[in-house]
């Protein structure tokens, strides 16, 4: 068995035994399962109100929820990926790095005849495999719950879209997991190492989008798309922070995948997410052995 496979299997085994990531994984899968139901409830409630308003003669506009695509019910999942999934991935990553630090196993591993890059790549493969399982389970739950709500199995096209969304989710989560691993590897104090990836997560998932959302809102739950600003302060700020708002790009790309946007897949958003993930994974793999030994600068 190759070093990559040995380390990846070890990573999977150790993560399975760790309670904190388990809790986050369970919460994420549970919320994804629940999200379709929330989507259905939203449509049911709004349509009920619409019918009442229509009966009262207060509107002549058509119900915006009429004939929504089945994958509309998966839109909430995008929010849960950004809010809970990325946090879960960062927690998995930082726990992975801190586990080795607590076990003081770095010196044991580094005195084996295995290349350091293979050890680190194996770790990322293990985390990636775990995330793939989580995403696959959540996708299956989404498929089943949407099929139940719409009273018909999702067609091939929609199933492919759901799979595409799962793949995009996996790439985003892998990036956040790598961010967590880097925090665990590069920061000496354990509490700071735990905190730093979460601060980065909060900045990426909340602060940057806040700076840019006002200019280019992403309509996930509202079926009526907002008109983006093309000038002004928010537009200028969005121009600078836009490329860094990875989660906003994820929302944009997810919306296009789930809805089948007429404009096609937003390539720029896909590229930003891919660069984010690939860059952070590469940063993990090229980490020097001294960092693995607790960041000591021997």
């Amino acid at each position: 068995m190759s070093v990559l496979a040995v380390v990846a299997r070890h990573e999977l085994l150790a993560s399975r035994r760790n309670r904190a990531p388990q809790l986050l994984v369970a919460m994420f899968i549970g919320m994804v399962g629940f999200s379709s139901f929330i989507g259905w409830m939203t449509q049911h409630t709004v349509s009920g109100i619409y019918r009442q308003v229509l009966a009262d003669g207060l509107t002549t506009q058509p119900n915006p929820f009429v004939d929504v695509a089945p994958l509309f019910f998966a839109r909430n999942t995008v929010i849960y990926v950004v809010m809970i999934g990325t946090l879960m991935a960062a927690a998995l990553g930082v726990q992975s790095a801190l586990r080795d630090r607590k076990a003081a196993s770095a010196d044991l591993v580094l005195t084996r005849p295995s290349p350091v890059k293979a050890l680190l790549a194996g770790r990322m493969i293990g985390i990636g495999a775990l995330l793939a399982v989580v995403v696959a389970v959540s996708s299956v739950i989404s498929w089943l719950s949407i099929s139940v709500i719409t009273r018909a199995p999702l067609g091939l096209g929609n199933t492919a879209r759901l799979a595409g969304f799962g793949a995009l989710t996996w790439v985003l989560l892998l990036g956040f997991a790598a961010l967590g691993v880097l925090g665990g590897l590069y920061i000496k104090r354990e509490t700071t190492a735990l905190l730093a990836p979460f601060v980065a997560w909060a900045v990426i998932a909340f602060v940057l989008p806040q700076l840019g959302t006002a200019a280019r809102p992403v309509s996930l739950l509202n079926p009526v798309a907002a008109v983006p600003q093309t000038s002004g302060v928010f537009h200028a700020v969005s121009f600078v922070t836009g490329p860094l708002s990875v989660t906003e790009h994820f929302k944009t790309a997810s919306q296009a995948i789930l809805e089948g946007s007429a404009a096609g897949f937003p390539v720029m958003s896909g590229v930003v997410i891919a660069i984010f993930a690939a860059g952070l994974v590469a940063a993990v793999v090229v980490t020097s052995p001294s960092r693995l030994r607790g960041g000591a600068s021997e």
């Binding site: 068995m1 070093v3 040995v6 380390v7 070890h10 085994l13 150790a14 035994r17 760790n18 586990r99 607590k102 076990a103 003081a104 196993s105 010196d107 044991l108 591993v109 580094l110 005195t111 084996r112 005849p113 295995s114 052995p289 030994r293 600068s297 021997e298």
Partner: protein, 251 residues
């Protein structure tokens, strides 16, 4: 001619401006139990870290089991076992799961039978499926020895192996080291600051002071010159005192 398990020439290491190891030249013959004595901060752990390829020297050369520690670090790592001073292992994994991981990293294809042999050698059977989080310090130390000898290394490095052990644990570890050397022919390089440990276990001794080797000889020759433990201790402190005086006067 006796083959050398470890050979260093002018081995030097600096941590930034601090000189941790100064031109260490020593030879350890294959099949020996070598004890490197020294106070805390003398450079013992740095020496082991260099010889196990965890650190790259800033000067000098060294070979372990015939492999250069810089040019052939992978060869060195294939030939050595290492037990650091404080190792915890993965508490959430069982003994077998921990040992399987290290065995596979050492290139042992089907590790279970080898693990069984090693645990039998260490008289540590019956704990296979217990999680390490429940193990005492002494038990962990035996797991540490087990992971270090799974691949039957030619040279075993032990860094302060008796640190934190109770008398029973110290005795067990001492017996294990002697048996490993006698039955498997493993060369053992042991760091310690305990004179008693060295005199009871080792066949040759080195004393490190302020990063410099101030004494190296066989145990018999050392004890010939200093026949009692008290005499050796006095010599140790005398050496240290001379070195300290020289260090302080800049001689």
């Amino acid at each position: 001619m006796t083959s050398l398990a470890i050979s260093t020439h002018g081995l030097t290491h600096r941590y930034g401006p601090t000189l941790a190891l100064h031109s260490l030249s020593l030879e350890v013959a294959a099949g020996e139990i070598f004890g490197l004595l020294g106070h805390n901060g003398a450079g013992k752990t740095t020496t082991v870290a260099l010889l196990t390829t965890l650190l790259r020297p800033t000067g000098g050369t060294a070979t372990v089991a015939g492999h250069d520690i810089v040019a052939d670090s992978r060869g060195v790592r294939s030939a050595i076992g290492y037990l650091p001073e404080s190792v915890q292992f993965y508490d959430e994994l069982t003994l077998m799961e921990n040992l399987r991981f290290f065995a596979k990293l050492s290139g042992i294809g089907k590790p279970d039978s080898r693990i069984g042999e090693v645990l039998a050698f260490l008289d540590f059977e019956g704990h296979d499926h217990e999680r390490l989080g429940t193990f005492s310090k002494g038990m962990r130390q035996r797991v540490g020895i087990a992971q270090a000898i799974l691949h039957r290394p030619a040279v075993l490095f032990l860094d302060e192996p008796t640190s934190g052990l109770d008398p029973e644990g110290v005795r067990t570890l001492r017996e294990t080291v002697v048996r490993l050397n006698a039955e498997w022919g493993t060369t053992i390089f042991m760091n310690t600051h305990l004179l008693a440990e060295v005199t009871r276990t080792c066949s040759s001794i080195g004393i490190l002071r302020h990063g410099e080797l101030v004494h190296q000889d066989s145990l018999s020759a050392t004890l010939g010159a200093y026949p009692t433990e008290q005499a050796l201790e006095a010599a140790y402190f005398e050496t240290a005192a001379i070195e300290t005086a020289a260090f302080e006067t800049g001689a």
